[in-house]
Symmetry: C2
Subunit: 229 residues, 2 copies
């Protein structure tokens, strides 16, 4: 019987502000509701949250907005994540796995320290370019104030990142003697962060990865020991 009954399905929430459903409206015959599996929806919700966080800011994002973007009702979102905080937790875990996954791949390669350093930077910038909401989310009060556990998780994660960079610098032979790896780490990570932030605020007015790689090169040039002519 496939889809015999539809009854009064076409009831849309009153606050239609966006085109939203592209597929349904285009069909001549009424389409039966397409239910998705919970895990599909969860993924959709996480992706919608990332997109909307970028557009509106994480602290201004309402469940309603996410629901509209996904194309379901607001309580529909809450079915999958009973509390709003749960959405942020899922988003954060998503980001964390994205990051550490990329780092692992680079760190387990056989590149030279300085090459790994460059690769880590490019990977991080590339991820931000693909997911521009990252800086805003990491700095959001949603994480910084409301969720201590998650904030700590990120703290540990970043500490790990610093640790990797620090080790790579210490291993690299071409750097000048007086250079403190801890200082160099802060300068490198700071360059990544500030470039990403400037890219965000400027409305993506330049190529993030390209610019970041260039600035890292200039920075690293200053770390290399002077040629003993």
């Amino acid at each position: 019987m496939a889809q015999a009954k539809k009854t009064s399905k076409a009831k849309k929430p009153a606050q239609d502000t966006k085109p939203a459903q592209v597929k349904k409206a285009s069909e001549v015959k009424k389409v039966v509701q397409k239910r998705k599996t919970a895990s599909e929806r969860k993924t959709e919700i996480i992706e919608a949250t990332l997109q909307l966080s970028d557009e509106q800011g994480p602290d201004r994002l309402s469940i309603e907005a996410i629901a509209i973007k996904v194309g379901i009702s607001q309580p529909g979102v809450l079915r999958h994540f009973p509390k709003k905080q749960d959405i942020w937790e899922a988003v954060a875990n998503h980001l964390i796995s994205m990051m550490s996954q990329r780092w692992e791949k680079i760190l387990s390669s056989d590149m030279s320290p300085i090459q790994q350093l460059r690769a880590l930077t490019s990977a991080q910038l590339g991820l931000i370019q693909a997911t521009p909401a990252i800086p805003a989310i990491l700095l959001s009060r949603e994480l910084q104030a409301d969720n201590k556990i998650l904030r700590n998780t990120f703290f540990v994660l970043m500490k790990g990142f610093h640790g990797h960079i620090n080790r790579l610098i210490a291993e690299e032979k071409s750097f000048r003697k007086g250079l403190d790896p801890a200082d160099a780490t802060l300068l490198i990570v700071g360059t990544i962060q500030s470039t990403a932030l400037r890219w965000s605020i400027s409305g993506r007015s330049f190529d993030l990865v390209e610019k970041g790689e260039h600035l890292l090169k200039v920075l690293l040039d200053g770390f290399i020991h002077p040629p003993t002519k």
Copy 2:
């Protein structure tokens, strides 16, 4: 979420259903109301906003919270700034004048370029240390999304800052030949920004000015041309 319950000062229970008129207030006089001038209050409101922005985040700050901090009612705040946006405008203008004032003083001094560079950095970090809400406000959606004019004003301001740094670098003779002043500017400003941000997030766990000055020194060491031994 949401705390800051009402607890408003001098709240007398109005539920007395006495037949008396509402205007019979002559006998109730107990506290001598302390009225302040508008400009005094405005200053207080701006300062309260800066403090609370630091504690709660600019995007989460309510007029009510400001009112409680200042010690008047919520509409009392709106008397001085009819729209919430007006508060942000005043805060931003306050910050702008604080910054440019400090810069002017340094730039009109007779220090060497590299000394001015260091002084600008220290001044900027010192201002942030004294007014920790600055980074959060500059990055807030309140400014970045809601107030295009103000965002542009800040953009111009920061462009000016970059310009000053850029010029000082170009003037400084001890830097290596290949160094592009524009790149160096981004690295210096980036170091200031990222250090300030890290200081904020870490809960002020180190001395901002001291750390920033140190990192700048390490960075500038890399800019200096190698000693022709």
